[in-house]
């Protein structure tokens, strides 16, 4: 039986609720959980002021309601599983190192910023700065997986160093900007200037994209590692065609203004068709 929190009073200003994490609530009674602190605007408040609490903690936390104004859910999370039946606000799972967060709705900006492990699943859209470095820090996501089935905003994977980001829809501008390593798979369309400033890492996309002139074309080939990623993502529920798994990809190296060891792999539908 999981611990169930249901939003009963929607916050009028952003509610910072880092305590909404399986480990923080583990072993607490409903009354004890209700007393945990949150910050509502510039005022201190209790979890119980906003949530009705039921069930018992067993490592899984279920939260129901429109939490679009609730920030930092699962931030710093290290273990356990959390399912949000609704949408969430900014900084979901920021800095998390383990466990799994599933959001049935949409998520705000900064999902998984600087996370180092675990998995975040967003079934709807996510905002800007997905898996990114915070402003003023050079390194973003360091490990784990972020899976967004919808679209995302700008600067997904900014400064990303390790791990996997998968996006079922489109990205905003500057996907993989300043990327250091790791992999981003985009099944939809890329916005403008993808991979700008990337040093290493892979941005894999399924549609043609206009790349910066500091990216140079290398070849069209069928990388086996892409098959591994796509089959992995297919098992996780992404809609991936056989032609994408078996297909050819244009390899573009960049960014030439940086280390130039990054790559953008663009699915080559024409090459795939001719390859058979």
């Amino acid at each position: 039986m999981s611990l169930d929190l249901t939003l009963r009073a929607a916050p009028t200003v952003p509610l910072e609720a880092e305590v909404l994490s399986p480990a923080r609530l583990a072993g607490l009674s409903a009354a004890e959980a209700a007393k945990l602190p949150v910050v509502h605007g510039n005022e201190r408040a209790d979890v119980g002021d906003f949530f009705r609490i039921g069930g018992a903690a067993d490592g899984q936390l279920d939260i129901t309601g429109d939490l679009s104004m609730v920030k930092r859910i699962g931030a710093g999370m290290a273990e356990g599983r959390m399912v949000v039946h609704g949408s969430v606000g900014m900084h979901l799972g920021a800095g998390m190192s383990g466990g799994e967060i599933v959001v049935e709705g949409h998520a705000g900006d900064w999902v998984g910023a600087e996370m180092s492990g675990g998995r975040i699943v967003v079934k709807g859209n996510a905002g800007h700065m997905l898996g990114s470095a915070r402003r003023g820090t050079p390194v973003g996501m360091r490990g784990g997986e972020i899976l967004v089935f919808g679209n995302v905003g700008n600067e997904a994977g900014n400064g990303m160093r390790r791990g996997l980001i998968a996006i079922g829809g489109d990205t905003g501008d500057f996907a993989a900007v300043n990327m250091l390593a790791g992999s981003i798979v985009v099944l939809g369309h890329l916005g403008s200037r993808p991979g700008a400033g990337m040093k290493r890492g892979s941005l894999i996309a399924m549609h043609p994209a206009e790349l910066l002139p500091t990216f140079s074309y290398a070849c069209t080939y069928a990388p086996v590692f892409v098959r591994l990623y796509l089959r992995h993502l297919r098992r996780l529920g992404f809609d991936i065609a056989d032609s994408q798994v078996n297909g050819s990809y244009q390899r573009w190296c960049g960014d030439g203004i940086e280390l130039n060891r990054g790559e953008v792999l663009l699915f080559d539908a024409a090459g795939t068709a001719s390859r058979g």
Partner: protein, 302 residues
């Protein structure tokens, strides 16, 4: 014990503990996966001369491999922990890395005792290599002229069994060969087992050491050589004019036993007088495969 008129001798095969790895080699087509596997397992019949023993376990369909391409499962064994990574690095580097379209993955259940094979091979990339982590496992991408070679960073090493065997004692060479071929066909694709010798069959069974040459660690098994019946202490029954041996290596004892049961049963055919096995009196190898118990279906002692 008789099986269709063939005597199953009351003896046992004596086998040794070895170290084993399972490699999954995939390719663009079954042909190229097989080509790499054949080269990898070439000259790997016996640790006596080859320093390793290896063979194709079975072919894999697209649905059975990590990358969804056709593949081949290979078992690779050495006598000690140290030589397994050395042999794997040398052989994968020269045979799988070089073979068009292939990739190489670990095929054993995940355990902590892992060999950094791909990690060693990565330096062929001369600094242009890169790695990816998928599903918690790291893979190295090595740029090559054809495109890219993908190899898993580490491979599991576990204890295995080497030297399971049985001997087919036949009235003539044709009958021995037909029985051996039938046995090999029956044991083909048995999980956890390989037959490392050519076509799965050995004609030159050996004994430990030499009666004449001090430096030889293994010489012909004169007790089972028909041409020497009159001049050595022959163990061949009357009427036996040809002997062939089947040698089995595997991941564990039960896998070896299951394959031996199928192989011996298939070998019991016209022209075969008896089935026996090679051992050292039980003094060297910890694994004893008693033929009559195996063929009687009795459970294996714990």
């Amino acid at each position: 014990m008789l099986v269709r008129g063939v005597l199953i001798e009351d003896t046992f095969a004596e086998a040794f503990t070895m170290r084993v790895a399972r490699l999954i080699i995939t390719g663009r087509t079954p042909r190229w996966a097989r080509e790499a596997a054949l080269k990898l397992t070439g000259f790997a019949t016996s640790v006596i001369g080859c320093k390793c023993e290896a063979g194709i376990e079975r072919e894999l369909s697209e649905g059975e491999t990590l990358d969804g391409r056709p593949g081949v499962s290979v078992l690779f064994l050495t006598m000690d922990k140290e030589s397994l990574p050395q042999q794997l690095i040398a052989r994968i580097g020269q045979t799988v890395l070089t073979c068009p379209t292939t990739a190489c993955f670990d095929g054993l259940p995940d355990v902590p005792d892992r060999l950094p094979v791909g990690k060693a091979l990565r330096v062929f990339g001369d600094g242009f290599q890169g790695s990816k982590v998928v599903g918690g496992k790291r893979y190295w991408r090595l740029p090559v002229m054809e495109g890219e070679f993908l190899v898993e960073e580490t491979f599991v090493m576990q204890k295995g069994v080497g030297g399971g065997n049985f001997l087919i004692l036949a009235t003539d060479a044709d009958a021995a060969l037909a029985a051996a071929e039938a046995a090999v066909a029956a044991m083909a694709s048995q999980p956890g087992v390989i037959l490392p010798f050519p076509g799965g069959v050995v004609r030159s069974g050996s004994k430990v050491g030499s009666k004449r040459y001090k430096k030889m660690i293994a010489t012909t098994n004169d007790a089972f050589s028909p041409t020497l019946r009159g001049i050595t202490e022959s163990q061949l029954p009357e009427g036996v004019n040809s002997v062939l041996e089947i040698v089995l290596d595997g991941t564990d004892g039960p896998a070896i036993e299951a394959a031996m049961r199928r192989g011996i049963d298939a070998a019991c055919r016209p022209g075969v007088k008896a089935i026996t096995a090679g051992n050292y009196g039980g003094k060297l190898g910890p694994h004893h495969f008693h033929l009559r118990r195996i063929m009687g279906g009795a459970p294996r002692p714990a």
